[in-house]
Every structure is written in structure tokens, then in C-alpha cells.
Amino acid sequence: MTFSVYVPAALSLLLAAISRIVVARTAPTRAAAFVVAAMLCASAATWGLILLAATLLGNTSLVTEEANERGVQLQDPVPALIGVTAVVLLILGTVRVVRVLRARRATIRELRAVCRSCGHGELAVVALDAPHAFAVPGRPGRILITRGLLSALDGDERRVVLAHERAHLQSRHHWLRAATEVCAAVNPVLIPVREAVAFLVERCADEHAARVTGSRALVARALTKAALAGGATVTTKGAPGITPVWPVALAFAGCGVSARVAALHSDPPRPEPLVPGGVLALGVATTVAAVQATIAFFQLIYWLWPT
């Protein structure tokens, strides 16, 4: 138990490292594979924490008395300090998950309210000069665009934006993002996976827009113009006295637009198996480790069952 219970944490680190390294080169359609791997890692790691926390029960009088009565020699699988740490981590994780889910729900509710104020129909336009475009999930999903963005682009480029946002809605990318956000909240080691998935779903939507409009160069141009229309609002990372607006997103998305444009200017992604072997192996390994840890834990406590 002492070994396999820590394996999911180690594998989460590995998954995070992989997603950092391969994200620029992997096929965008693999986003879902990363989501599944992250979910397995996050749930296995959480289960490991629960098991570690449960070892604290070995110190309670209830269990020790029962053990004395039956003449069982109690084992002390892990130091109490680790059990306590596990409890603290579980509580912190729960708080973060609640916060993430609340932020999500509130943001989507507000986006829908903006759409309603704009009138009905698929496209909702806000009379703002700042260039923004959002896919607002719902039944039906809507596309929210500012007037600033629409007037910065020509007819072909506006078509790109619409196709891009429609791809998000049709492929339900918000679920992939929500899942990885929860995983990263449960297990902050997985934050790079969340950023990788955020990047990959944008790439998916870009490639979809390229298929719809028939030109990857056009998508690259629309993206470039949209990004430049916003102006360089965030200064160089590490510049003294200036805090980036979205530090977490910037770890990745700061260079996200240029990376997406560069990807559109290079060869189209080759069709690759949806699940990369490495990610699949990781998922299987964490599951096996979690099962092993569980078996080890029940071996510790099986005597509690009446024979």
C-alpha cells in the first residue's frame, strides 16, 4: 500500500510533463484523451488521499479497542503526519472544486444574460469596441461577439470566427474544459494538462473553421487580426511592477495565439490515433495503482469483518 498509493501522484506529474512537451505537436483531436487521462489521475490520486486519510482511523480508540478485543496486532501503515496531510489536501481540494464550479456556473449564467439582452437568434452582438468572441453553451448554444471584433474583420474573417465558435458549441468543448478544470482543482499538479486541453480545443476549432472556409491561411489571418485588434495588453512576463492579468492562463495561452497561428501556417495535422499510447498507458497504470492500493488497504482492515 505504501508504494502504490503514491503512484497516481507520481503519474500525475508525468502526465503534466507529457502534456507540456507534446501539446504543440500533438493532433488537436487528442484533447479528449488528455481529459480522460487527467480524470483517471485526479480520481486515483483523490482515492489515494482518502485511503491515506482513512489510516488515521487506526489511531482511534474505536479501532484499537476492537483490535485488542480480537487480539489483532494493529499495523501502522503510514505515519500519522501523512494521514493528516492527506486530510488537509482533501479539504483544500474540495474547496477549490466548489470554487471552480461556482465560477463556471456564474460566468455562463452571466454570458447567457448578455445574450438575452442582445435579442434572440444564434448570433448575439454586444456594442463594445473591445474585440471578443465567446461560445456560450446552452440549449441552443449561442455565439456572443462584440461589435469591435466584427468591424475589425472582413466578411471571410467573420465567417472564420463564426465557424470557430460553432465548432466549440457543436463539439461541446466546454465539457472537456470543465472536466480538466475540476481535475486541476482536485490535483493542482494537473494544471498543465488543463492548459494543454484549453489549447487543443482551440486548435480543434481552428481546424474546423479551416475545413468550413477551405483555407487555413484565412483562419490564421482572422486569428492574427483578432488578437492584434485587442492590442498588446499584457507586457512581457517578468517585467518589474506589472502583474499579468491572467497569470495561470498565460503560462500557456500567452503564447497560445502565436502557437495557433504558427500551427495553421505549417502542415495540417495528420490523422493520428485518437488515444496516444503514452497517455493510454498512464491511465491504465494509475488505475492499476489505485486498485492495488485499495486491495492493500482492505488487507489491513479485513479482520474488522465478522467471520
Partner: protein, 128 residues
């Protein structure tokens, strides 16, 4: 089987019409002031037939999404702005929320660092 095929072709036709409606509406919003059908046709991608543009404009008008004014024999069209100020205020509020909330927004284009902006401008110059 046949019915499924016809249903799927019908949905794709309907979706295409919906896509065109969104594009025409987007063009009207991008334009400054009321514009004629001919001007809309120029502002929409893909060289649509004049009649197609006309049909879409009429449909959008019937849905109450755009308004029109008569200018001689022609009509000029403009987007119906709904609760324009309310929407702008709500959006401003949303954009100025904290970091937690920003992370949820799936942006078409994120804000850029100075180097990124330079790199993108260079790329735009190289490939117009």
C-alpha cells in the same frame, strides 16, 4: 434509411441557412449605419447571389433581428440593437471579474504579450 438520409440533408440545408443568417447579421453589425442589400452582399464572404442575400435579409427582418428604412425604391437595413446599453454593461462587468471567472471564458483570441504581438505583426506582413 431513405428517411434518415433526407432528414440529414434537410438539417444540413437548414444549418447552412442559419450560418448565412449569422454572417449577414454580423456584416450589418460591422457596417457603419444602414446599408443596402448590394452593400451587404459585398461585405459577406463567398460571393452570394443577390437574391440569396435579399431572401436572408427578409427572413432576418421577419424575425425582428434587423430593421429597414425605405430609401427611394430600395431598402436600407440595420441591426436591431435590443437592450444595447444593458448588454454592454453586463459584458463589461463580466470582463472585469476576477481571475477565477476569466479562466472560464473560452476566448477566440487571448491577450498578447508585446513579443507575441510583434511576432504576429511580422507574420501578417509576410503573408498578407
Amino acid at each position: 434509411m431513405a428517411s434518415r438520409a433526407s432528414r440529414s440533408s434537410r438539417t444540413s440545408a437548414r444549418r447552412a441557412a442559419g450560418e448565412l443568417e449569422a454572417e449577414v447579421l454580423a456584416a450589418l453589425w460591422a457596417a457603419d449605419g444602414a446599408v443596402t442589400a448590394a452593400q451587404v452582399r459585398q461585405a459577406v464572404a463567398g460571393g452570394l447571389a443577390y437574391n440569396t442575400v435579399q431572401t436572408i435579409l427578409v427572413r432576418l427582418y421577419e424575425k425582428g433581428l434587423i430593421g429597414r428604412v425605405a430609401d427611394g425604391r430600395r431598402h436600407e437595413y440595420f441591426p436591431v440593437k435590443g437592450a444595447e446599453e444593458l448588454a454592454a454593461e453586463q459584458m463589461q462587468a463580466l470582463l472585469s471579474r476576477g481571475q477565477d471567472r476569466q479562466a472560464v471564458l473560452q476566448r477566440f483570441a487571448t491577450s498578447l504579450s508585446v513579443e507575441d504581438a510583434q511576432a504576429l505583426r511580422a507574420m501578417l506582413r509576410r503573408r498578407p
